[in-house]
């Protein structure tokens, strides 16, 4: 299948996306941000629709909205008592806006489908370069604050007690998360990007006992999902997103049940 240029592009782009989402996911799960990641993907949908409406690449609209959304929703979710209901309200607002933007831009339904469910097979050379560049930026950002990020994500109280600038760490992480959501949406779509951001990392929590080992497991599991998903999608012509979702869920369930059997019996 690598004789097809579009498959080579798809593999290259999804490899970087899986690495980024696997790494970011470890911190999403450690910081209990799964719900926020989900909300951001909905905000990303509105952003992509906004991009279509303006006639620019949906990725830029998505980046714009998720960056703004992540910092504001992140602040809200950290400081508000009504965290879940306020995030739900914001989700509703953005999904509504997304639907509106798509409707008034006269885009055909193919756009909506590819934003919601991903369209990795359609990625061109320029798209690949953009995704790889954005992935590298996310990884560099996290690399800059890795020590403080590890401390704050896995022991928030200890980090505060040690004088770690947790506000700054949180801000940098929210920006990375927004970018990860935007680029992850390119393969699995905004509806299911939280799969790549939460499931590999959740499985990794049962498999690794140190931050580096959790990162390796999460990246590995994300890579298995996207590679196998692309392959299965190629040979069956079924949606790649479907396979990625199934693979990640199955891995999570297997790991979880092994954990249960080991610890409860």
């Amino acid at each position: 299948m690598f004789e097809f240029v579009f498959m080579r592009y798809a593999f290259l782009a999804s490899t970087f996306i899986a690495i980024t989402c696997g790494v970011v996911g470890v911190y999403v799960v450690a910081r209990n941000y799964s719900f926020l990641a989900h909300t951001l993907s909905e905000i990303g949908f509105a952003g992509a629709a906004f991009g279509v409406f303006l006639g620019i690449d949906p990725l830029w609209g998505m980046l714009l909205f998720t960056l703004l959304g992540s910092v504001s929703v992140g602040e809200l979710s950290l400081h508000s008592d009504q965290k879940e209901s306020s995030i739900s309200a914001i989700s509703a607002l953005f999904i509504g806006l997304g639907v509106l933007f798509l409707a008034i831009s006269n885009a055909n339904s193919r756009y909506a489908t590819s934003i919601l469910f991903g369209s990795i097979i359609g990625v061109d050379k320029e798209g690949v370069i953009r995704l790889v560049a954005l992935s590298v930026i996310v990884l560099l950002l996290l690399g800059l604050v890795q020590r403080q990020l590890n401390f704050d994500s896995f022991d928030h109280i200890g980090a505060v007690a040690h004088g770690v600038k947790v506000g700054l760490v949180s801000f940098v992480f929210l920006i990375s998360l927004a970018m990860a959501v935007s680029i992850g949406s390119q393969i699995v779509g905004s509806l299911l990007v939280f799969i790549l951001l939460t499931l590999p990392a959740s499985s990794a929590r049962y498999l690794g006992k140190s931050v580096p080992s959790m990162l390796l497991w999460a990246v590995g599991i994300a890579l298995v999902g996207v590679w196998l998903g692309l392959y299965l999608g190629f040979i069956t012509n079924w949606p790649v997103t479907f396979f990625i979702a199934m693979i990640e869920v199955v891995i999570y369930l297997v790991v979880y049940f092994i954990h249960l059997i080991r610890h409860k019996l």
Binding site: Q146, R147, N150, F154, I157, V160, K209, S210, M214
Partner: protein, 215 residues
Amino acid sequence: MILEVKNLTMKFDNKEIFRDINFKLEPGSMTALLGPNGTGKTTLINILMKLLIPTGGSFKFSDDVKLGYVPQFRNIDSEYPLSIKSFVALNTPFFKNKQVKQTIQEELEEVHLADIQNIRMGEASGGQKQRAYLAQALLDKPNMIILDEATASLDPVAKEELMQLITHLNQKHQMTVLFVTHDLPLAKRFMKEYLYLNHGKIEQGKMGDFVGDYE
């Protein structure tokens, strides 16, 4: 003098926690900060750790002080994934050189966790967790350590073990200890000096002379 506190006052809105408290700690001292629950012990510690700004007064640590601090609560549930070793090492670079690795190992041995360093923190007992918190604070090689209610949720055996460890740090490493507790019998057994915070005032003295009854 390792710490001097002058006329320290703290208010939250209209509620005065304490007013004009003064005390000094000597290097190598081993002091219990006593008082009933809710008298402002943790507030005082948070001010000393620069996590809260006092409404009045001042405090000064000596220039050569290196502070270690073990806070009262942590969010470590039974599903917490990191091993004891990884938890202790959280405040170190991602890529650890030989020296960092060696320091981690030394501190794990110091708190008697070296043998079980690979079990998950979520599966560790209360006493083991508390010693891991201590080891994490010891990683920067402090010469003064503040522990906030470190024994509060421990069984008698674990309490004894932790207190002996703290005594060891004080005697063998000349570490200044400030131990916050509301457990008077425990303080009487292991601490040498006391600070007693109640009704917004503080008094200081030798542990053996303490006659407060928490009323």
